[in-house]
Subunit: 287 residues, 2 copies
């Protein structure tokens, strides 16, 4: 496999993530082509100059590297279709899906001409679509790779090159560890944001939206996430998500108990533990 700048790269899915990747890779690869079944997304991508050409999926298998940038179940659909599309030469496949176990399992059974590796850049916005794409989306963000047993060392090397080029920090994990950590760090915060909004609505007093300040706004930002993406995540990561919810409910019930018993010392201790941990997190963020 040549260096990144010698590669023909195809991006399947030209939404926020695919579009941002196209911008971040512009000028750094030999050629960028796009695949998107939605005509509006395809024409927007051309209009924004994200890719040089839009091609159908079967034509994209002539690339050196195919990046699947779509919601989890759309990626699974893509991988199923790829079983019928045998590339003439070796084709590296990297996906950007939000959960990894189901995708890596599907990748494992791709025809031998494919050289697949799982990926997940830990970034996003509460808006979707290529119109919001930015080259800087991946900068200083963690980009997780979940190589399969069959993934070649060259494919891992190319993926690491790509990650370095777009300014991300690589983290190599197994698919199941990824899914457990992402459940706690991302899927659970999403569900808690949703539940905060639903609990606020439950007060049935419209004035609560005037009382809600920046704390509520930040705490519930994820509730505005793209629905299709989130439903796919929750449906494809059921067990880790349910485990995370259970830990969270236990932690919250513990806090509620301390409030109820007026156990001020115990409450302060629990709150302080979380505060210290959260402050350490802030210190580790570069931006």
């Amino acid at each position: 496999m040549p260096d990144l700048d010698g590669l023909n790269v195809g991006i399947v899915g030209l939404g926020l993530m695919g579009g941002s990747l196209a911008l971040a890779l512009a000028g750094k690869v030999r050629r960028l082509i796009g695949v998107d079944p939605a005509p509006e997304a395809a024409s927007l991508a051309l209009q924004l100059g994200l890719v040089q050409e839009i091609v159908p999926m079967n034509a994209a298998t002539t690339c050196d590297l195919l990046v699947l940038a779509a919601p989890v179940r759309a990626i699974l659909g893509c991988l199923a279709a790829m079983n019928e599309l045998i590339p003439e030469q070796g084709l590296m496949v990297l996906d950007l899906g939000s959960t990894k176990s189901a995708i890596c399992e599907a990748m494992q059974s791709l025809p031998a001409q494919y050289d697949p590796v799982g990926g997940h850049p830990m970034c996003g916005k509460e808006v979707s679509g290529a119109a919001h794409a930015e080259a800087s989306l991946f900068q200083e963000k963690t980009f997780i790779l979940t190589p399969l047993e069959r993934t070649s060392p060259q494919a891992v090397q190319t993926a690491l090159q790509l990650i370095a080029h777009i300014g991300s920090r690589p983290l190599i994990l197994s698919a199941d560890i990824h899914d457990r950590l992402a459940a706690g760090a991302s899927h659970l915060p999403y569900l808690s944001a949703v539940a905060l909004v639903l609990a606020a609505e439950n007060l049935q007093d419209e004035r609560i939206w005037q009382v809600a300040a920046s704390g509520f706004r930040d705490s519930t930002r994820l509730a505005g996430s793209d629905l299709t993406m989130m439903v796919d995540i929750l449906m494809s990561n059921q067990a880790p998500v349910l485990d995370s919810i259970e830990w969270f409910q236990t932690a919250l019930a513990g806090l509620a108990g301390l409030v109820q018993e007026h156990d001020e010392a115990g409450l302060r201790q629990a709150l302080e533990k979380a505060m210290r941990r959260r402050q350490g997190l802030t210190a580790s963020y570069r931006t």
Copy 2:
């Protein structure tokens, strides 16, 4: 009571809120003096030019308006002390405490020379102290007033003038409604942020902090809030906080059930309800 620009204003507590109020009122009132039992806070306030003078509490009762800007139980301590300090002339008292029932109850029994009104500006930062004070802290924010039966119409008028001068939007509520709405919009989001951090720690895998991206960071920002302020809030607003936790746990358990049963249509419907509500909230924010 003269207009705001004719008033001598005393601010008790020169932290983030009191300091920011001093900056926001600078040049808009006749004189600004400060009270703070902590020598470092007092000298920082003078050094930053927030107030013209630092005086002991008993000297502050010669003002026209006394603003109590401290954690809830410090305000309660102040009000208890004020029972022994009878001002020679009428003295309007406005507090900025985060919960209102306990404070308004204590205000109700102040000597007749006082003219008290409860207040709560819905703003803050995850940092504390006058060093972080800014005049713009209150701009475009909701400022809740909880007048008592004994509050004079003039005191409400003066408070509304002050709110207009610092750029906030007034919202008049009873103390108990305030406490119920603040529990759902502020105290519950704080506890859910704490529980998210504790649940993430429960995974006992340090890599989760690398996986945690901006969604986790925003969802847990409140976990870094000032501990004394939060313990005071939770200890003084027990019943509404526990009610909110219960609604929240019910909402989250409902979502968990839909995930567990793979009820995709039901899940999507619940998520969409929260998304629409949250999007409406974003649209209503001016900043």
